[in-house]
């Protein structure tokens, strides 16, 4: 939608008598229900005659299935169905169409689903899967992309003989010319690891068929409308006969963007038993059978002129796809955009191989590959700064783009607050002062031989704890991402006889606060208290289409759609009031549930009364509006060029760390973050997004790793997989740069993923600043840090 289109809808724009709700701290609408334990998550929902589903996983990384004997399982009391691939129609699904609900001939990773049971109790179901006997013939296991790409490597999916299901190439400019123009060139390899979403609520689903054969799913999907379409094809039910209801969801972070095999499996169990079936994972199953973030090896080479101007960037990425392909195989589409467009770079070339292995497979995870790309890029920008003898802040400012520019990859930056983000974050952190104290000694300890590039002047041989400061910036989509054919969202708005509003939005709520943002926008436009707004967002039979909760798109796209529906309703309401009150519409405004005199704010009539007059008076009308908002973005062309988002988000984090040279422990002391969010809608909510993203990013950088050896997961528990706790929370200083994007609702852009993206790079840069040791492989565990320190000093 163009700016003029938004204004056209606002035919009776608000005045400013009442304090605006935009930018205020609004508590989350569903918080009381969650705080009292009344929210019914998937594991809390029990339907009459409901059965319990359980899956038998292969637990071997690569094997041929020779035989499955389910007779002992079927013979158990209370077992109502046992399914294998022979019992269902196998429709390939997933982004690479290389997965099926149950596996028939071969398994290609440990999590592969081989059989499933529905039983009267969870205990019987668990017992039954243990009674299923599968005979396998083990096949050679490919544990890394390196092995998979070797000549004569075992083939994982016969239809892809080179184990490389996807390759992407991108370029703008001429890298050879860029190399010639460079005074300084840096080249390095960055190794990014596998991490799990660790939603506190584990995955689950309830499936049943109603009396007329319609399939009803209580599902945790983040993308209900795409899901409904794809799932209908897998389970053989017409899409118009599938209804998706989303209960409160115990965390998403991208994990619920794909259809996972357990979901069609549960439908097949419901079909086989003609009863509702609930399937909820244990924590161990959650680690085993939900995909992770993409592990990727990034080889990056880049150059600059003496004055710091970037000249070129040459990128080669290899992703570990695992044994199947999810939407995760498309994360390079976002990664490439950071390399091409975080800064102004005239010459960029990128090649990506997505490679099958027999590891567990990966999917979307907050940032969609961008944290990985940003780690490589922003580490290398610091390496370039050092080669150039420039301050990293100055080098970044030299290459920051201006509002109005179009990036090398064709993205139009109508707003770009990166320069302000860099300056504000640096100022809040005391950058200049603290960079002088590199390798600052905090505590004197044992005498030992130590040296390092940056800290030799501070007698490191005497220090045990050293401090450092580092920065990293980010670039991300802020106005949706046109990956699918439509990136839109619909809204239906109705006003009841008493001034109560119901908003039906296509957007999904996974904890991020979208329902509160939508209520806030509608309340703002219609001059009603926020408590009058009810948001319904979880039932595909009621709500209009939306592409899903991903790409940090909900504030921008669902927000715009709600804004347009509300503005149209506002126009109708003011017109009706004008007729009733015999005033001109431009003399009226809506405030606190009343129609008021615009000149002095004096209440004239309640909104409820206006509606009742319209409803029961001569006109017999009600006010209901609908909107479908499609952002003004374009699908990328086959060369990955194009303005895929309606606007773009930027940000900078400046991070202080303390490194213990004796133990290798890195502690994050303080993060100063500045984000260009266009405009703050709900300050409480947006702070929560930034704080949560930072702490999740600290876990990504320092403590988290799904350890996979020989295709097997070594640490599928919170005992051995460490996410951050309260004591890892650093001091946080958060600023918002409000660039007021012309396309955003009230100027707002997306924020959901941004705060996680630069965290690891900023920490690694700070660790380098503290120790003089550059670590290019995550996570920065004490063992790794200590090893790298020892290597550097030996």
């Amino acid at each position: 939608m163009t700016e003029s289109a938004v204004n056209a809808l606002s035919k009776h724009p608000k005045t400013t008598v009442r304090a605006s709700l935009i930018g205020k701290r609004i508590p989350k609408l569903d918080a009381p229900e969650k705080a009292t334990g009344l929210s019914r998550y998937i594991e809390d929902i029990k339907l009459p005659r409901m059965l319990y589903g359980k899956i038998l996983f292969a637990e071997r990384p690569h094997a041929r299935i020779l035989d499955i004997d389910v007779s002992a399982a079927k013979a158990l009391d209370g077992v109502r169905a046992v399914l294998t691939a022979s019992d269902i129609e196998l429709v390939p699904f997933g982004f690479g169409k290389d997965n099926t609900a149950l596996k028939k001939e071969r398994v290609t990773c440990v999590r592969d689903e081989v059989a499933a049971v529905a039983a009267d109790t969870p205990e019987i179901a668990a017992d039954a899967v243990k009674h299923i006997r599968v005979t396998y013939e083990d096949l050679p296991v490919v544990t890394s992309p390196g092995e998979a790409l070797k000549e004569g490597a075992p083939v994982i999916h016969p239809e892809v003989p080179d184990n490389t299901p996807f390759r992407y190439d991108y370029s703008h400019g001429d890298v050879a010319a860029g190399i010639r123009q460079s005074d300084v060139i840096v080249e390095d390899t960055y190794v990014l690891h596998r991490v799990a979403h660790c939603c506190l609520g584990t995955s689950g689903i309830i499936a049943y068929f109603d009396a007329d054969g319609k399939l009803v799913l209580h599902s945790l999907t983040q993308v209900p409308f795409l899901y409904k379409h794809e799932l209908s094809g897998i389970v053989g039910v017409a899409p118009e006969n599938v209804r998706i209801i989303q209960p409160p969801i115990g965390g998403g972070f991208g994990s619920k963007l794909d259809i996972h095999p357990f979901e069609p499996i549960c439908v097949f169990l419901a079909k086989a038993t003609s009863r509702p079936v609930r399937l909820v994972f244990s924590r161990e199953e959650e680690f085993l059978a939900t995909p992770t973030r993409q592990p990727v090896v990034i080889h990056l080479k880049s150059g600059a002129r003496k004055d710091g101007t970037f000249t070129f960037r040459d990128v080669h990425m290899t992703l570990d796809n695992g044994g199947h392909t999810s939407w995760g195989a498309t994360t390079p589409w976002i990664m490439m955009r950071t390399f091409s467009s975080l800064y102004r770079v005239p010459h960029v070339r990128q090649h990506v191989d997505v490679v099958y292995t027999n590891n567990i497979y990966a999917c979307a995870f907050r940032g969609y590959g961008n944290p990985q790309a940003t780690f490589a890029l922003e580490s290398q920008v610091d390496q370039l700064a050092e080669e150039l003898g420039m301050d990293p802040l100055e080098l970044r400012l030299t290459n920051t783009q201006d509002p109005g520019e179009t990036t090398g990859q064709g993205m139009i930056l109508r707003t770009c607050g990166l320069k302000e983000c860099l300056e504000i974050a640096a100022r809040n952190a005391g950058w200049e002062e603290k960079r002088k104290n590199v390798g600052q000694v905090i505590r004197h300890a044992t005498v030992r031989e130590r040296s390092g590039k940056r800290n030799k002047d501070v007698r490191p041989e005497d220090s045990s704890l050293v401090r450092g400061i580092g920065m990293a910036s980010l670039f991300h989509v802020g106005g949706g991402a046109k990956i699918y054919r439509s990136d839109g969202c619909g809204t239906i708005l109705k006003i009841d006889d008493f001034g109560g509003i119901t908003v039906l939005t296509g957007s999904s709520e996974i904890g991020q606060g979208s329902e509160t943002m939508i209520a806030q926008i509608v309340a703002e436009e219609l001059g009603l208290p926020i408590k009058n707004i009810r948001v319904i967002n979880n039932d595909t039979d009621l709500t209009p289409w939306d592409v899903g909760a991903h790409a940090s798109r909900t504030v921008f796209i669902a927000g715009n759609s709600a804004l347009r529906a509300a503005r149209e309703a506002r126009g109708k309401l003011v017109d009706a009031a004008a007729v009733r009150l015999k005033r001109k519409p431009e003399e009226l405004d809506l405030e606190e549930g009343n129609v008021v005199d615009r000149s002095n704010g004096e209440p004239l009539e309640s909104i409820g009364k206006i509606i009742r007059g319209l409803h029961f008076g001569a006109k017999n009308k009600l006010i209901m509006t609908t909107d479908f908002y499609e952002p003004p973005s374009t699908s990328p062309d086959e060369k990955h060029m194009g303005n895929i988002s309606a606007c773009y988000a930027f940000g900078t984090h400046v991070t202080e760390v303390e490194v213990d040279l004796d133990t290798g422990v890195v502690k994050v002391l303080k993060v100063c973050a500045a984000h260009d969010v266009g405009r703050v809608i709900n300050r409480l909510g947006i702070e929560g997004q930034v704080e949560g993203g930072i702490v999740q990013g600290i876990g990504y950088c320092l403590t988290e790793e799904v350890r996979v050896e020989g295709g097997h997961i070594l640490n599928p528990t919170f005992t051995d997989y460490k996410i951050c706790t309260t004591t890892d929370l650093p001091e946080l200083n958060i600023s918002f740069v409000e660039t007021n994007d012309p396309a955003g609702p009230y100027g707002a852009k997306g924020i959901g993923e941004s705060p996680l993206i630069p965290v690891a790079a900023a920490i690694a840069n700070a660790v380098y600043n503290a120790t003089g040791v550059r670590i290019t492989e995550l996570p920065l565990t004490p063992e790794k840090v200590l090893m790298k320190l020892k290597e550097a000093w030996s």
């Binding site: 701290r25 508590p27 989350k28 569903d30 918080a31 009381p32 229900e33 969650k34 705080a35 009292t36 334990g37 009344l38 929210s39 019914r40 998550y41 594991e43 809390d44 017992d127 979403h197 660790c198 939603c199 506190l200 609520g201 584990t202 409160p248 969801i249 115990g250 965390g251 998403g252 972070f253 244990s282 924590r283 996974i510 904890g511 991020q512 606060g513 409480l684 909510g685 702070e687 929560g688 704080e691 949560g692 993203g693 930072i694 702490v695 999740q696 528990t717 919170f718 005992t719 996410i723 951050c724 706790t725 309260t726 004591t727 929370l729 946080l732």
Partner: protein, 156 residues
């Protein structure tokens, strides 16, 4: 085949109400609260005492109810999230969590609130570090903990 165990009779007080029921000897307090008493506000997050989503008060002390056998609770006083608000009025801890934005997906919230309750009973005016230490056993993946800590500090 397994020997089928018999259920054992059990009585305790949950949220001020006397409860008598029969539970399997291996049933955890979490199982009984969620399945027998339908007090589903107490959450399963990991089943091994690592995440704190199942935190309840047992005789005034916070426990991971997934690690406590129901039979151990004979004669005990148990407080769950459902027992915190009275007559539809939110407990001040619940109110603070709501107002301070300490709730996103909300899955950790009941456990976090019960751990806070125990913390404030033991130490009505904790420092920030004491709050962090007191809630260290409760994982949250959404909020980054800052707003949780702020909410708790607002009560001290």
């Amino acid at each position: 085949m397994h020997k089928v165990l018999d259920k054992v009779e059990l009585s305790f007080i949950v949220n001020g109400e006397a409860v008598r029921l029969k539970a399997m000897p291996h049933a955890t307090l979490l199982d009984v609260l969620r399945n027998d008493l339908e007090l589903t506000g107490t959450k399963y997050g990991c089943g091994e005492g690592e995440c704190g989503a199942c935190s309840v008060l047992l005789n005034g002390k916070v426990v991971n109810s997934c690690l406590v056998l129901a039979l151990e609770c004979e004669g005990s006083q148990i407080l769950t999230i459902e027992g915190l608000s009275t007559n539809g009025r939110l407990h001040p801890i619940q109110k603070a969590f709501i107002d301070y934005g300490a709730i996103q997906c909300g899955f950790c919230t009941p456990g976090m609130i019960m751990a806070t309750y125990a913390l404030l009973e033991a130490n009505p005016s904790p420092t920030a570090m004491e709050v962090k230490r007191g809630l260290e056993g409760n994982l949250c993946r959404c909020t980054g903990y800052r707003k949780i800590v702020d909410a708790v500090l607002s009560l001290s």
